[in-house]
């Protein structure tokens, strides 16, 4: 059914259609509307046979999820930013124990300085935590990926993060096609756990494992993700058969035919990039786009295949690996090892900095002329940076950097280049 609704609401409805049995909620922007929506559905009885628990922290949220998932309940939670970092120990534990929890990460920057706006620093900081990470480009995709996520997670006994851009998607009202309960039931079977805390068949879960088997247990986690690499495209096909929508998969190429420059990105920024690429194609530029949906497992082969015929690629990412540059870019470079391609890393949109079509047009043109620096910070205000660096050179007690830089900027509601 077509409807106009907020991204968070669409996700809440989709999660409810998946018949979750335990939901843990702790408020953190910009994820909050999702669990609010689910809480309302639990209260009204629209979502029945589901325990909605208001916990005291994100660490508790993931811990409650661990307990309920290990007891055989389909379990969901959502978080963002500091919340994800606060639960990290339990995040690793959930994947280590092989518990198929599904969690929405409404991507948001990480402080300090504190910032509530969107970038991908939070979930990308958890790239090695053993969870599958799927990135949504649109609200429709966010909605649909949640339905796929439960199936994928439960088949493989692995937790799945569905990552959607905070505010840009979570708070945007868009038209979505909401599936029916019958469709979701046809696609998603009831949860059959591999391991369950059951007095009829007692097992110990979470025993100490020493050097004699730790490597093997860890390898199995990798093997599971490699299985996911095969299952994710199949699930997209199965999904299409039931819902009629081409959603999910590992990667998506847009206007890649004959492209000399390929732009690689994840999440909602792909929409802006595609608009710019359309304009540039009209102007005769040979440019295309590669969107990555599955960041973990990272589809090395699919990325390599999508880029093998281009001359150069630009990875535009909303994250920064301080001290080296890009996170997504590093992964992409691994996929094209030995192909002799020119690669550029562009860090953009940190902390909600707007990524405009104008900036992207200029950026991609520059890349096309091979004039781009290997690492670029899109629309960085060099004047502000240089003033601060100078201040630190001049004065020992230069004070807190962020506050000084804000003072230099004066009062601005939001910075749009």
């Amino acid at each position: 059914m077509l409807k106009q609704c907020e991204g968070s609401h669409a996700v809440a409805e989709a999660v409810a259609l998946c018949r979750p049995e335990v939901i843990c909620a702790y408020p953190i922007s910009p994820q909050t509307h999702i669990v609010e929506g689910l809480g309302e559905m639990c209260k009204s009885g629209e979502l029945h046979d589901c325990e909605f628990i208001n916990v005291e922290s994100e660490f508790a949220a993931m811990s409650v999820a661990i307990g309920s998932s290990a007891t055989g309940a389909r379990t969901y939670t959502a978080t963002a930013s500091q919340g994800l970092l606060f639960m990290v120990e339990a995040v690793y534990n959930a994947s280590g124990l092989g518990l198929p929890i599904v969690m929405t990460v409404a991507n948001r920057a990480i402080g300090a300085p504190i910032n509530i706006w969107n970038d991908h620093s939070d979930s990308l900081s958890q790239r090695d935590c053993g969870w599958i990470q799927l990135f949504a480009e649109t609200n429709q995709e966010a909605l649909d990926l949640h339905i796929q996520a439960f199936k994928l997670a439960e088949e493989l006994s692995l937790p799945v993060m569905v990552c959607m851009d905070g505010f840009i998607l979570t708070h945007a009202y868009e038209r979505v096609d909401m599936p029916t309960q019958a469709q979701v039931d046809a696609f998603l079977p009831p949860y059959e756990p591999r391991q369950v805390l059951d007095p009829a068949e007692p097992v110990s879960i979470g025993a100490m494992v020493g050097p004699e088997a730790f490597m093997e247990v860890r390898y199995l986690a990798h093997a599971k993700q490699m299985q996911a690499l095969e299952r994710i495209p199949q699930l997209a096909e199965e999904f299409k058969a039931v819902f009629g929508r081409d959603i999910g998969g590992l990667t998506h190429t847009y206007r890649g035919e004959g492209a000399e420059t390929m732009v690689v990105a994840m999440g909602s920024v792909l929409g802006t990039i595609k608009d710019v690429v359309d304009e540039m194609r009209d102007a005769g530029h040979k440019i295309g786009v590669l969107g990555i949906t599955s960041f973990r497992p990272f589809p090395l082969d699919a990325v390599g295949a999508a880029l093998k015929n281009c001359k150069r690629f630009v990875v535009l990412e909303k994250s920064l690996a301080v001290g080296i540059g890009g996170i997504v870019a590093t992964n992409v470079r691994m996929a094209v090892t030995g192909m002799g391609l020119k690669g550029y890393t562009v860090v953009a949109g940190l902390g909600g900095r707007a990524i405009t079509k104008k900036s992207l047009y200029g950026l991609f043109e520059k890349a096309g002329r091979s004039e781009l620096a290997p690492l670029t910070f899109l629309d960085l205000d060099w004047e502000v940076v240089n003033r601060q660096l100078e201040r630190e050179r001049q004065t020992r007690r230069s004070g807190p950097a962020a506050e000084s830089m804000l003072r230099d900027l004066g009062t601005v509601a939001s910075k749009i280049a």
Binding site: E56, A70, T75, L97, M208
Partner: protein
């Protein structure tokens, strides 16, 4: 014929032996059908108070729940000595997640059980969470308090040995004043753990006004079994805090574990009581009050108090703490006792 006084089988502790009791009054441990939830063969130290406490507690909980029990366990001695992969001593469904999240994991288990039961997919399974004092009063305290205030249907059992024994005897917020640990060495003008610090979590649990809070020791095991059974007969958040001497951390002989637990109670150092909805209901009376010195002297962690010149003032401060417990919990008040 002169009156023959009834001769009870005495263990020297006013304890009535099982063989003189009717079968239904006998202890869970006296029953051949006990579950041995924490089975023999585990790797606890000789004389481990925690292993003893856990065996009695979990068997009693199993008995009270019709053997429909799931346990969540914090990281710590109990977890390590009971489950070195691929061996496990647990005869019940058991999960270890992390050091600081056990109460929350138990909340999750309880939530899943509730829904499964509601859907007709599961029976009336009960949940216990257990951890040491570090995992309870320090790192797991946030999750514990959360579980309490939501009144989740979990019995949380804390085995308190007064420190981080698993990592080599460091101070916790349950380490008693003046005790030596690896991080409160008996050096300087105030040797050992400082006075005026630490917290007594049973009192904090009572402040949450949860259905049941109790303390126990491994010296009064019938009392422990009774409290576990009582707790399992109730719903909502319940907390039982058990004093479990640690030969390694306390520097005591392994055969003295129960004796020391008894001394902790008889000196007033450790008040043994039960409370419901935030109100003190019962206290296990001190039978023969003893000076704290009797409790302190056998323990190497207090050895610095008994050198060539005994630390009389420090011992007096500890005595004052015990006296305060006696007043506060009515430990010499026969009428208030169970």
């Amino acid at each position: 014929m002169p009156l023959q006084p009834v001769k009870f089988y005495q263990t020297g502790t006013f304890t009535v032996g099982n063989r003189l009791l009717a079968p239904e009054e006998r202890s869970v441990q006296a029953n051949m059908q006990r579950t041995n939830s924490l089975n023999s063969g585990h790797r606890a130290c000789q004389g481990c108070g925690e292993a003893l406490g856990a065996r009695y507690a979990i068997d009693a909980a199993m008995n009270a729940s019709n053997r429909q029990l799931i346990a969540a366990n914090a990281t710590g001695c109990l977890e390590v000595f009971s489950t070195p992969y691929p061996e496990t001593s647990w005869q019940i469904p058991w999960i270890h997640s992390l050091f600081g999240n056990t109460a929350a994991v138990a909340t999750g288990i309880a939530a899943a059980i509730k829904i499964k039961k509601q859907k007709g997919q599961g029976g009336d399974v009960r949940v216990v969470a257990q951890g040491g004092d570090g995992g309870t009063t320090d790192i797991g305290f946030g999750c514990l308090s959360g579980m309490f205030e939501r009144n989740d249907d979990v019995l949380y059992i804390c085995y308190d040995n007064g420190g981080y024994m698993n990592t080599g005897v460091q101070r916790s917020s349950a380490t008693p004043a003046a005790a030596r640990t690896a991080t409160t060495m008996p050096l300087g003008p105030e040797p050992g753990n400082p006075f005026g610090q630490g917290k007594f979590v049973p009192a904090i649990a009572m402040a949450h006004e949860i259905p049941y809070v109790a303390t126990a020791t491994v010296a009064d095991l019938r009392d422990l079994e009774h409290k576990i059974t009582k707790a399992m007969g109730m719903r909502g958040a319940r907390y039982i805090h058990i004093l479990v001497p640690c030969p390694l951390g306390w520097g005591t002989a392994s055969q003295d574990t129960i004796h020391l637990a008894r001394l902790a109670k008889e000196t007033g150092i450790f008040p043994v009581f039960g409370a419901e909805y935030g109100e003190l209901k019962t206290a296990l009376a001190i039978r023969r009050q003893l000076p704290v010195e009797d409790y302190l002297r056998p323990q190497k962690r207090f050895a610095h108090l008994f050198g060539k010149s005994p630390a009389v003032a420090t011992i007096a401060r500890i005595q004052a703490l015990a006296d305060k417990n006696i007043r506060k919990y009515g430990l010499l008040d026969r009428e208030g006792s169970r």
